[in-house]
């Protein structure tokens, strides 16, 4: 198969006494989409944050493009140039216009020239259908539009890997579609993504692999058909029963 982008091996994460990830191993290849499913509190967000070093892990290893991220010589800020993240609550910068939200990463992290990135940013806005809102402030946009801008903000860094944490959970049901459509497009264009989601139909459509987490334990992983149609474990079945 193609190059391995992200590899988690036996990852353990504790918050004080609370063991939130208990030896999780996941391998993600280039152009692959992996969906993380599991009940609230099962550790999905924590796993994503560990993957881009917003949290440190207590045991195991995470490697990115074959390089261990636990190596003390690694600069986390540089790693994050290549790993984008999109949040449930958008977290757009309210004091910056839509365009400047998208430019902030390339200009202040990658130190690229604003004039040069501007064209790319406008092209991104065109692609998400918000070219005419470039100069608006985020609080003028609907939730769905804000989340699309947040995705564009990550894409502007041209990340190798995109982490998405329940990006439709805070949205009005009528706005979920526009965001999922964008993600489906990205998947078809070969964007490598690790997606925590409660949208099972979406996971079935786009995922190459589905991973089921329960209380920090990776219970089961496999193709969407394996997980959704022929789950092997009782706890997976119970979970799917509940979300249907």
């Amino acid at each position: 198969m193609t190059e391995v982008v992200l590899e988690l091996a036996g990852v353990v994460k504790r918050f004080d006494e609370n063991e939130v990830l208990r030896g999780v191993s996941i391998t993600l290849h280039r152009h692959e989409v992996v969906c993380l499913i599991g009940a609230s509190g099962s550790g999905k967000s924590t796993l994503l944050r560990c993957a881009n070093l917003l949290e440190t892990i207590d045991a195991g290893t995470i490697s990115f493009l074959g390089q261990s991220l636990q190596d003390p010589r690694i600069d986390p800020d540089l790693v994050r140039h290549h790993i984008g993240m999109v949040f449930q609550s958008f977290n757009l910068f309210p004091h910056l216009s839509v365009l400047n939200n998208i430019l902030i990463g390339p200009v202040y992290s990658l130190k690229r020239r604003r004039a040069e990135v501007r064209e790319e940013a406008l092209a991104l806005l065109e692609r998400i259908g918000l070219r005419d809102r470039a100069d608006d402030y985020p609080d003028r946009l609907s939730g769905g539009q804000q989340q699309r801008v947040a995705i564009a903000r990550s894409l502007a860094m041209r990340p190798t890997l995109l982490l998405l944490d329940e990006v439709t959970s805070a949205l009005d049901p009528t706005l979920v579609g526009e965001v999922l459509d964008l993600l489906t497009d990205l998947a078809h264009q070969g964007t490598t993504m690790l997606i925590a989601t409660h949208e099972m139909n979406f996971a079935r459509d786009v995922a190459n692999q589905v991973v089921y987490l329960d209380s920090g334990v990776l219970v089961e992983q496999g193709s969407p058909e394996e997980i959704f149609d022929h789950p092997k474990h009782q706890s997976t079945r119970n979970f799917l029963e509940r979300v249907r």
Partner: protein, 271 residues
Amino acid sequence: MGRRGVVASALSSVIILGAIFAIFWFAPGGPTVRYFFFNPHLMWQAFVGDPHQGLLSVGKGLVTNLWMFTLSEVLVLILGLLIAWVRLSQSPVLFPFRVLATMYTDVFRGVPVLLVMYMVGFGLPELNLGFISNQSPAVYGCAVLTISYSAYVAEVYRAGVLSVPHGQLLAARSVGLTHTATMRRVILPQAVRTVIPPLLNDFVSLQKDTALVSVLGAIEATRAAQIYGDTVFNFSGYTVAAVLFLLLTIPMTRFTDHLIAHDRNRRLAGT
């Protein structure tokens, strides 16, 4: 407010103000109070001073208050920021400094400024430490105001930074910004909006507290008014000092209220 509203509020203002004025004017001691506190001739004399009678000008005294609070405010902005920065730091190396900074803010928000004034103003000269012990009362006054108010302002800054949601930090780090760039481009610009009104409030009290250096013998507006009162046996000088302080602080308090209302409207309109 409709037409009836305007009439009603005008009427109630006239009645209330008229009542207050009537109490003041017709009270048994009214004429006495007017003579001792609001004597126009003496008020003018207190304002300009009279060197022949050894009377200091309250107006000139105010110049001392002016430069004292201007200097203190600049120093407070800097020292407060430094203390807040230490308290907000995460680095293990800075741990002892964090403890010191926390103690500092606890102590100086707890001890009355007047007491600090006595300790510094009378204590430091006793040290016989050359430069440190030779300063004028006004300089000690500035030092005290800076020390005390930095503790308040540090907490104002800190609250401002903490008021920015954690998600903003996560989002900024996720687009690769360093800690410093995150502070500069994302956290501080948002914190400033929350910080300005309470900061201006603290500055209004700082301006008033410049009057406290009078206990060290510095000749500022309050002290000049006191000397005037002791010499002429009339308190009109205090009234002059009060009016002058009001002229200084009212623009600031009005401006602060304006900012708060503006921010509130923005919040109600937005999101």
